[in-house]
Symmetry: C2
Subunit: 418 residues, 2 copies
């Protein structure tokens, strides 16, 4: 057992690992028309998030997604639109086990397509399309244990007591909670174990069985290693889970923003004050003068942007930012937030004039929205009254973090007052 002790620092895997992702569910428990795996979260289907969770793991070489025949076209479109590269889509069978078996068979064909035999998956990870938050660390534990034991599966403590019922609907007995666990996904198998289990199992297993670990035990004599997974392995099952999943996705996208000051001293002062104010709101801010040189990297990762413009009567700076973002194709996968903060230089301006016409921001935002960029404006006025200035900065911080968190398409193009 000491051999399977894993440190997250040592995550290289020297044997081929592939994934089978059965995505045949009909979503009846959410009460929605669309099966859960195809429900959109910020414009992107849930299954695309799950695929991404595997694709970004360097040691996973291929992913077979198994879908019902009527969803083959939709799934193929999703793979293309969201630029998945390790994915093959194959048609499912009439039950979950038949679908998984189809996926496993598709893997065995892979080795034959001109690739060397050593590329054939040594370990197969089976997961659910509707568990999008699985992490590399845990996948590594499952893959290593599967390699060593032949089979491995995620478990979680039971949340409710499990009881046996009589046929008339009365309590028969309750189980001792400590002895039992909920069997979750992912599970891992050596290719030979899962292949042999499905070759040997009966029609009845294919029809009514639910547990791959059970087949490995019954037909290969393999007692799966059980590993407790984190709560994030949870399965999007009910309608309430859609809200929970959206909230987690939004949290992930809302952690950090990049303030572009243009180098102006006033903008830098504002950015520094903002940095302190948003820290209390759980947003992290990086402050940079512009996106040239090494700062170009900000365009490639999951950053939100705050462009500070001082005393400008045009939108040239934020227009340049939008062009850079479009060139970097950042907004293809999820809506990107850009907030233009217009800082005007004196108290006098606060009543009389606007620096930029609100209509101009609305027009720019409408065009950006078509490219999945959500542009909002915030106007504030420099003030020598310290209290007033601090109140304005705090309001910019609150508005900024609310806009980044909520990503409301209805509010794009608005010029808000701080």
């Amino acid at each position: 057992a000491g051999k399977s002790d894993l440190k997250s620092a040592e995550r290289s895997i020297v044997f081929p690992v592939s994934v089978v992702l059965p995505a045949g569910g009909t979503g009846e428990r959410t009460g929605l028309q669309t099966p859960k795996q195809f429900c959109l979260f910020l414009g992107r289907p849930l299954i695309s998030y799950t695929i991404q969770a595997f694709e970004r793991v360097s040691w996973i070489q291929s992913i077979v997604v198994v879908v019902a025949k009527e969803y083959m076209d939709l799934m193929t479109d999703i793979v293309q639109q969201f630029q998945h590269t390790k994915v093959r889509v194959v048609p499912g069978g009439s039950t979950r086990h038949r679908s998984i078996y189809n996926g496993v068979l598709a893997l065995s064909e892979e080795g034959e397509e001109g690739k060397p035999a050593t590329d054939k998956a040594k370990v197969v990870i089976i997961h659910d399309a509707v568990r999008p938050f699985v992490e590399e660390d845990f996948l590594h534990k499952i893959a290593m244990a599967a390699k060593e034991q032949g089979a491995a599966g995620a478990i979680r403590p039971l949340v409710s007591t499990v009881i046996a019922t009589t046929s008339e609907g009365y309590l028969d007995h309750s189980l001792e909670r400590a002895k039992y666990r909920a069997s979750e996904m992912p599970q891992g198998f050596t290719y030979d174990v899962i292949h042999q289990a499905y070759q040997k199992c009966s029609e009845s297993d294919f029809e009514f069985g639910t547990e791959c670990l059970h087949l490995a035990l019954q037909y290969c004599g393999t007692n799966a290693k059980l590993i407790q997974g984190p709560p994030t392995l949870w399965k999007v099952t009910y309608k309430r889970d859609l809200a929970a999943a959206e909230s987690i996705i939004k949290d992930t996208l809302s952690r950090s923003a990049c303030v572009i000051t243009g180098g102006s001293a006033q903008a830098v002062t504002l950015a520094d004050a903002l940095q302190k104010a948003v820290a209390a709101l759980n947003v992290e801010l990086d402050v940079i003068p512009d996106l040239t040189g090494e700062n170009g990297a900000y365009l490639l990762n999951d950053w939100n942007f705050i462009q500070v413009s001082v005393n400008r009567s045009c939108l040239s700076e934020v227009e340049a930012l939008l062009i850079d973002l479009e060139a970097a194709k950042r907004a293809l996968l999820h809506p990107l937030v850009v907030i233009l903060v217009l800082l005007s230089g004196s108290d006098e301006l606060s009543v009389s004039g606007r620096v930029v016409e609100p209509e101009a921001i609305m027009d720019l935002a409408s065009a950006a929205k078509l490219r999945n960029i959500l542009l909002y404006g915030i106007q504030l006025h420099q003030s020598k009254d310290t209290q007033r200035w601090e109140r304005s900065v705090l309001r910019v911080a609150e508005i900024t973090s609310a806009l980044i968190r909520e990503r409301s398409p209805a509010l794009v193009g608005q010029l808000l007052q701080a």
Copy 2:
């Protein structure tokens, strides 16, 4: 069994029913400092929603909330602040069963406090503080079955396969899913059964037991009737459940809004157009001229408000509405949304002037926010260009439903452009 067939139309209950609500959890599974039952949702603790679910049921006569000693003061404050009337707070014991027993004993004291003996609870419903969405219909089923059988409990199908593990952490066997159920809450007992079960049970039961139904079976020979409950019975357990619960609460508060037109023909035209536009967004709108007479009832229920003001240079109409709302004490339980729609009469105004200064709305909103009323403004311009007008109306609809749904405190006082 035919006798216990229930129709939701016949919900009167002719025997006294009381509730014991153990609220001693420490919330370790959410990873938060605050126990889940005290986490705030729109400014109100979760347990207050759960209490409300019982308080609004006419045939439930009293609710005993059992909390750890260190939370007695907090709980007493909650009862007062959220105006709960059927609630008594008692201190808990060192385990869940000891706490529930304390609650049951507190009920038996009730009958003695000068009330006639017939008021003593005949049926006791036990529920969790962190299952706030339980509905009257299901409580009725549990109460009736408990009266008839001595004990009754909610069950749900198992979401995951349940497996038995060996002491070394390997798969021993998996259970046949169809034979087992998850035991959930609420559960119901005749007073005599639950009281006797706790009187007879052992110290070990008090210390390690989890299942009240099991005690009823073991010590009273009562086989509980099991009734499948709806998914809404679910228990707020993990951090993700907080987001799911908030989403459900927000949905409930966002279903309907009341448009006040002031009787102006232009405002009525806008309101009618809005009514069509928001229908597609799942918001229902009632249109009324004002809140006099029978329309005063809108102030008392869960409505959001949209005040349309035409060509006004002051905020008198919305100020009057805020005064009415405050008098009705509507915003005590959850934040109330008021949207001021400023309709200006012609295209010419659209560039030149504002009808109302944005600063005035911000000041009014800041004051209203202290009283838990969230005030937002939307400005739009009458236009003879049909397309332009329809676009503006659609934008008002989108902004309105986003503001009502999201209830963002950061955006109050903003004057948005449609």
